[in-house]
């Protein structure tokens, strides 16, 4: 009887634990390390040559438009 109780309790808890682990988002990909890596990647993108060029292109496209808008208004 004691053996059956111990086995039932142990297996019940194991079953719940494993189900909760299966449903957990961070089981296969660690959220903390993922977050740090995403931030690092964003910084790298911002500082890379390609990233800076892209930013410059965006700026130059925006600049004439802004100038155009201001002259028309004037």
């Amino acid at each position: 009887m004691i053996d059956y109780f111990a086995l039932a309790l142990g297996h019940g808890l194991l079953a719940i634990a494993l189900l909760r682990l299966m449903l957990r988002e961070g089981l296969d990909v660690d959220p903390l390390i993922g977050e740090i890596k995403a931030e690092t990647d964003a910084n790298r993108k911002a500082t890379s040559v390609a990233g800076r060029n892209a930013a410059r292109r965006t700026k130059t496209v925006e600049q004439p438009q802004a100038d155009g808008t201001s002259s028309a208004d004037a």
């Binding site: 004691i2 053996d3 109780f5 111990a6 086995l7 309790l9 142990g10 297996h11 808890l13 194991l14 079953a15 634990a17 494993l18 189900l19 909760r20 682990l21 299966m22 957990r24 961070g26 089981l27 296969d28 990909v29 660690d30 959220p31 903390l32 390390i33 740090i36 890596k37 931030e39 690092t40 910084n43 790298r44 911002a46 500082t47 800076r52």
Partner: protein
């Protein structure tokens, strides 16, 4: 009926693992510790459930796991080296047939311990392994504790799920493992995320701790008493009010005294007088024999080399006749006595090289856990504040294991090797956080430097 329940549980985990293959690794841990195939009677005993779980765990990792963050570390290399060395000594063994029998389970335990850290790439996985390990052992401990309270116990009298005196179902081994897992149990009470802190969790942990402490009493395992003493000593480091702790432990110990059976006192008394007990007195003789043996064979004699030992010693024999107790000294001849110590087990079987590898494996683990505790003890955020306490719990478990291992041959105990795997997994995980944060800091500095350069250029 019992077989069907076990098979249903194994089938349930196999199905869950289809979505998360890591759960198959945990299934193998459960099967290796609890051994349901040895508890059941018919169907499950005929099925190779352990092999199925190992194939699923390894195959799932190879074929389906992301493997991101998996690292092969120095301690895994040491276990690989030990595995290769054991294979070599098995080929040269003094007793080839017996050596082969031990090799058949040792290589699996070592291989799984080498593989295990490769799967522990996230916090959830580290916690998952610790939890399954704990609950598998708890299943045995709960039954043992209840039987001790309700039915007494006694040396080699207490019945486990499996009664062949092997693996974790050997009384001293179970006592060591049960006491060794207490620190980890209380880590779950505070930092668990699968079962979050709750009064039910605390209540279960308190009851399980009590059951763990009852294992050495119920089984009358002397090693267990030493492990409890070691646990008490280790806890002093983490206790703020040390004198209160010592006084409390003393009062608790005294309060427990009236409830202990006479047979327990008799058995514990042999700790102080080892000469009066055959099992205790042969230890010293076997250890001396082992030292002489490796003097001739420094590379070891392979598994079960102790079978070649033979020695005679004098032991007191008490005879009670009415009110008179007479003690006579008689010569006892012993043959093929086991090492009764993991240190001497390694020395006799694997020689000095094997012992050095084994000591390095555990020594580096203790040092790594110490380093992790110091590195992360000030971490206050939810994502990392659990690390230092887990490192402390794992270090305490390892020390308690080494205390227990001094008096029993459990050098290749699978549960202990899984704890080694857990230590490696935690250490690698922390190194990955440090490395990722280092890269982040560099990227932030670079970004700031470029922003400064651009600002200067615009100003010029």
């Amino acid at each position: 009926m019992l077989d069907l329940v076990f098979l249903a549980f194994i089938g349930y985990v196999l199905v869950l693992g289809l979505r998360r293959p890591f759960l198959w690794v945990l299934l193998y841990v459960y099967i290796d510790i609890l051994a349901p195939q040895r508890i059941g009677y018919s169907l499950i005993a005929a099925l190779p459930v352990s092999l199925i779980a190992f194939a699923a765990a390894f195959g799932g990792w190879i074929a389906l796991d992301r493997k991101e963050g998996a690292r092969f570390t120095l301690r895994q290399g040491l276990m690989g080296l030990l595995l290769a060395y054991c294979w070599w000594t098995t080929g040269q063994a003094d007793f080839p047939a017996d050596a082969q029998t031990k090799w058949d389970w040792v290589w699996k335990a070592l291989l799984f311990a080498i593989f295990l850290p490769l799967t522990l790439t996230t916090r959830a996985r580290i916690e998952g392994l610790a939890l399954v390990l704990l609950l598998s052992v708890a299943t045995i401990v709960i039954g043992t504790g209840m039987k001790t309270i309700l039915g007494g116990g006694g040396y080699q009298n207490l019945k486990f799920f499996v009664n062949d005196n092997s693996g974790i179902y050997e009384s001293s081994t179970l006592a060591t493992v049960a006491i060794g897992l207490i620190p980890m149990l209380w880590w779950f009470v505070k930092y668990g995320t699968v079962f979050r802190p709750h009064w039910l969790v605390t209540g279960f942990a308190a009851a399980l701790t009590f059951a763990c402490l009852l294992v050495p009493i119920g089984t009358e395992a002397r090693t267990g008493l030493l492990c409890i003493a070691a646990l008490g000593g280790l806890m002093l480091r983490y206790t703020k009010r040390r004198f209160l702790f010592i006084a409390g432990a003393g009062v608790l110990g005294l309060a427990a005294v009236p409830f202990l059976p006479q047979s327990y006192y008799d058995r514990m008394a042999t700790l102080a007088q080892p000469s009066s007990d055959e099992s205790a007195s042969t230890r010293v003789a076997v250890w001396q024999w082992t030292l002489d043996y490796v003097g001739e064979k420094p590379l070891g004699g392979g598994f079960d080399a102790y079978r070649g030992n033979r020695f005679a010693y004098v032991m007191p024999v008490k005879q009670v006749d009415g009110n008179t107790t007479s003690v006579t000294y008689s010569e006892v001849v012993d043959e093929g006595r086991a090492y009764h110590s993991s240190f001497f087990e390694m020395l006799g079987e694997q020689g000095w090289p094997g012992l050095m590898i084994w000591l390095a494996l555990h020594g580096i683990g203790l040092w790594q856990m110490e380093r992790l505790q110091r590195r992360w003890k000030t971490a206050g955020d939810e994502a990392t504040r659990w690390i230092a306490p887990l490192a402390a719990a794992l270090q305490m478990s390892a020390i308690i294991y080494l205390v227990g291992a001094t008096f029993q041959g459990i050098a290749y105990q699978p549960v202990m090797l899984m704890l080694v795997g857990l230590q490696i997994g935690l250490n690698t995980y922390c190194l990955r956080i440090d490395s990722a944060r280092g890269l982040l800091e560099r990227s932030v500095s670079r970004k700031a430097a470029i922003a400064n350069t651009m600002r200067s250029a615009v100003a010029a």
